[in-house]
Symmetry: C2
Subunit: 157 residues, 2 copies
């Protein structure tokens, strides 16, 4: 079995991260919502609070996990908000997703960060995967209030 | 009817914000999870990405809304992650919660920020309130992976 390398992405990895984010979004039929450019990603990958871990085999990108450190207002500490976990088709079912999650935990451990994220209720596979890792899953209702929706309540700008 | 003032909290408001956060958590039987100190809050209220709006009448705190600006990795822009909305008992059902939300929207509008947050599925009252404001609500499954849970997958530190 080949050895997978996992490392933190830096600004030079912006192109690869943007490419895989596009693949993930297309896979979910949400490609139209990805507006971020490679230049944006170069900036994001230079930030301390943006964590992207890349899985590679022989220099080829296999997948990634992205997360944001953010303050947790109830404790004065921080939490790690996982954004996306993605593994390219050719590498699925080979344990890469699990390896990425474990690396994210290794990143989070020294600062005692809880890792949080959301998923679609119909995504049973993801729920089984994360439950096996020991995550606690709860149903929630999530609200999104877009500028076009709240504009009705404000005087014209 | 008295006039309610709404303004952005600064470091000097740390004591009041901490007090109301404690009330909110107690109200939800979650007081034990509030570990943040007034000093922590003084720091948090000095950050550009931590937004707390305070509602006051005649100098007395009526309630608050807290939110965090965070990067949105799909667009390269930002979103405003609402954390808590709280109105003190004596001032409930007087429209203060709605006023706080509208002020938060006014803060978000110039940067075209979408506002997002979560709530418990059984909280019908909150869901009606936010739907009336024009927010879009969706069921989701939320995962939380605590240091004590992921520690099992890592070598001993």
């Amino acid at each position: 079995m080949n050895k997978n390398d996992i490392r933190r992405a830096g600004p030079d990895d912006a192109g690869l991260v943007r490419e895989m984010l596009g693949e993930l979004a297309d896979h979910q039929d949400e490609g139209e919502f990805v507006l971020v450019t490679v230049d944006h990603w170069r900036e994001l990958l230079g930030r301390d609070d943006v964590i992207v871990l890349l899985a590679e085999r022989a220099g080829e990108g296999m997948g990634y996990v992205s997360a944001l450190r953010r303050p947790y207002l109830w404790t004065g500490g921080e939490v790690l908000a996982l954004d996306d976990l993605y593994v390219r088709k050719a590498f699925r079912d080979s344990g890469v997703g699990r390896e990425l999650m474990i690396e994210l935990a290794r990143y989070a451990q020294p600062d005692n960060l809880t890792i949080t994220w959301g998923m679609r209720p119909e995504n049973d596979q993801a729920q089984r995967f994360y439950t096996r890792l020991g995550a606690r899953l709860r149903p929630k209702v999530v609200a999104s209030w877009a500028p076009t929706s709240y504009a009705d309540l404000l005087p014209p700008p």
